[in-house]
């Protein structure tokens, strides 16, 4: 806490706090939405009332989580306008489009059909009700899609051109923004990870009931859907995680280097499976990067490029602009010192553009506009005091990445085992260790949340110091506010969101406890 002394740090802490709390609600909505839609589809096709009872049980938990989580994301938009006003102006045209679509189309779609989902059981046809349930699930995912597209643009700003007259980036291609490699991999990885969480949630809640010997048939029905969604989710999350790693290696190599604590890259680069970073290591000294590590040969080259022989640059290589192509030839990438020079030049050209604009010097305007946009990719480096400032927090990025991967690996095995026990229940029933399995299932719920949050920390901390990759560092994106002003709202949000989380968890737990004592094979309301 001693380091949180300025407005940038407090604003970042506030944004991180609200984003993490918001994200605790979102993935369960996305994952459980798909699960209840599948359950209702089974009910629609079989007309088996027990499936209706099961659908309604999970729909209640979905409703609680949706109601408590809804609108928590709007706080992030408040923060853009107040704490990050330079950023908001700088990107308004591009950031606004996906957020507007999210607000107008996806959220209203979700909100409209959720009413039919809860109020319409006795009032609309089963077919229409089923459609409403699917549209609620799809609407939630579409809502997430546009937010993630906006986030992906911050990681990989494409499809835009800077207008020095308005000081704004203007969208030149909506589809370049929406379908950038970063957006595609981020959307798939994130939404599919939510399916994983939904599946684990169902498995965990059913395990809790089975520990108490309640509603065995309901649990078996639920697990058939939950475990399958979880398995499909976690396998596809792993595959899209691989795609994400390739995308990050290509467009955010510094983030990849921080994720692996890699300071000096190599051909046939190994990957650190587990390790303890050397706290004395900095980008400018020759200390060893690790106190202890277990590495897998070729691992990082394969992860980053799918080529075991490829060169993967480390932090020092990236700063110095050194890399190699697949034939081993040295590539003259642009060093950070050069980028800083270019960035400063662009800044002075923008100042000159303003003078030319006031003087009405059209020739100078055209020339400056062309040179500004030619070099604009390195604009943000002009604000750095030294190249090392562009290195993210390596320990935080490294450890959260490895926690995410470790829990993710556990979830693959765990969910495959859960699915196996669905079809081979005798392997579990009556065994002395069954209760330990059920306890593990319950523990898997918070572990999956931790995994999900770690994924976001890797994505966001790993791209520091950039608010927009290469274009705008945090220190110029921020508004001219006092740190104490931001501290007040930080603590207000800490209290508010903690209260909401406690309400969410306690209402969900109470509902599970109360409903599990009733017969969940029968429709009661």
């Amino acid at each position: 806490m001693e380091e949180l002394t300025n407005v940038v740090d407090w604003s970042r802490a506030q944004f991180a706090l609200t984003a993490i709390y918001h994200w605790l609600f979102v993935p369960l909505t996305l994952g459980l939405g798909v699960i209840i839609a599948i359950m209702e589809t089974i009910y629609y096709r079989t007309r088996d009332e027990s499936w209706l009872a099961t659908t309604k049980f999970w729909m209640t938990l979905f409703g609680v989580n949706f109601a408590i989580g809804v609108a928590t994301g709007i706080i992030l938009e408040f923060e853009f306008g107040t704490n990050w006003s330079n950023y908001s102006w700088f990107v308004g045209d591009i950031f606004g489009a996906p957020l507007a679509i999210e607000g107008i189309l996806a959220f209203f779609m979700e909100s409209t059909f959720i009413a039919v989902m809860f109020f319409g059981w006795k009032k609309v046809s089963p077919r229409f009700h089923l459609a409403a349930t699917w549209l609620t699930a799809i609407g939630a995912s579409l809502s997430a899609l546009w937010i993630l597209v906006a986030n992906a643009w911050m990681q990989m700003p494409v499809g835009c051109e800077f207008n020095p007259a308005t000081m704004r980036n203007e969208m030149t291609s909506f589809w370049a923004v929406a379908l950038s490699p970063m957006a595609v991999s981020k959307v798939l990885h994130t939404v599919l990870s939510a399916w994983t969480l939904g599946g684990v949630f169902v498995v965990g809640v059913c395990a809790w009931m089975q520990l108490r010997g309640r509603n065995g048939d309901h649990c078996r029905r639920s697990l058939k859907v939950g475990a399958w969604v979880g398995v499909v989710g976690v396998l596809l999350t792993s595959i899209t995680g691989d795609t994400s790693a390739v995308t990050v290696a290509k467009y955010q190599p510094m983030k990849l280097a921080a994720m692996e604590g890699l300071y000096k890259g190599d051909f046939q680069q190994s990957i650190v499976a587990a390790g303890i970073l050397n706290p004395d290591k900095t980008p400018v000294n020759d200390e060893p990067a690790f106190l202890f590590d277990i590495s897998i040969p070729y691992g990082l080259s394969i992860l980053a490029t799918h080529d075991p022989d490829a060169f993967v640059p480390g932090i020092q290589d990236i700063i110095n602009g050194v890399s190699y192509d697949s034939e081993g030839n040295k590539i003259n990438t642009v060093s950070y010192a050069e980028r800083m020079e270019i960035g400063r030049r662009v800044r002075s050209q923008i100042a000159a553009y303003d003078v030319a604009l006031r003087a009405g010097d059209k020739l100078a305007l055209d020339t400056l506009h062309e040179t500004i946009n030619r070099d604009f990719a390195f604009f943000g480096y002009g604000y750095l005091d030294n190249p090392e400032e562009a290195v993210p927090n390596v320990p935080l990025t490294f450890y959260t990445f490895h926690v995410m991967v470790t829990i993710g690996g556990f979830l693959v095995v765990f969910l495959l085992a859960a699915l196996l026990f669905v079809y081979k229940p005798k392997w579990l029933e009556g065994k002395r260790w069954a209760k330990w399995w059920y306890r593990l299932c319950v523990l898997a719920i918070p572990l999956t949340y931790l995994c999900s949050v770690c994924g976001w920390v890797v994505a966001e901390v790993g791209r520091q110091p950039w608010t927009i990759q290469d274009l705008m560092p945090n220190k110029v994106a921020i508004s001219d506010l006092s740190a104490s002003y931001v501290q007040i709202t930080f603590w207000i949000f800490a209290v508010l969101f903690t209260a909401l989380l406690i309400a969410d968890v306690s209402i969900i737990c109470r509902q599970i406890c109360r409903k599990s004592q009733t017969d969940l094979d029968q429709v009661t309301d």
Binding site: G63, V64, A67, V70, F78, N83, P126, F128, Q511
Partner: protein, 91 residues
């Protein structure tokens, strides 16, 4: 919206009472009205949503989250000028 009333347990029957109301608007109105009236847990959740919305939009937004640039300029030209000063002249 379908105008047929389906009992929960009568998907295969011919039971077809209609939604309350004579036209689309009144049907939508009664759809929501009946839905809200029959809520149990939903009442608590709606109370939380309403409290949350009031706290977020009335207290938090109005008191703590004004649009910063609106305090610096009244039009887009002025805001661009302010941001240019922040990013170029005095970063």
């Amino acid at each position: 919206m379908a105008s047929t009333f389906y009992s929960l347990n009568s998907m295969d029957t011919n039971e077809t009472p209609r939604l309350r109301g004579n036209n689309t608007l009144s049907r939508i109105w009664f759809f929501y009205l009946d839905g809200f009236r029959s809520m149990t847990l939903g009442r608590t959740l709606w109370a939380i949503i309403l409290i949350k919305v009031v706290v977020f939009f009335v207290i938090v937004k109005l008191l703590f989250f004004p649009n910063f640039l609106n305090s610096k300029a009244t039009d887009d030209e002025g805001k661009a000028e302010y941001v240019r000063h922040e990013l170029v002249d005095d970063p």
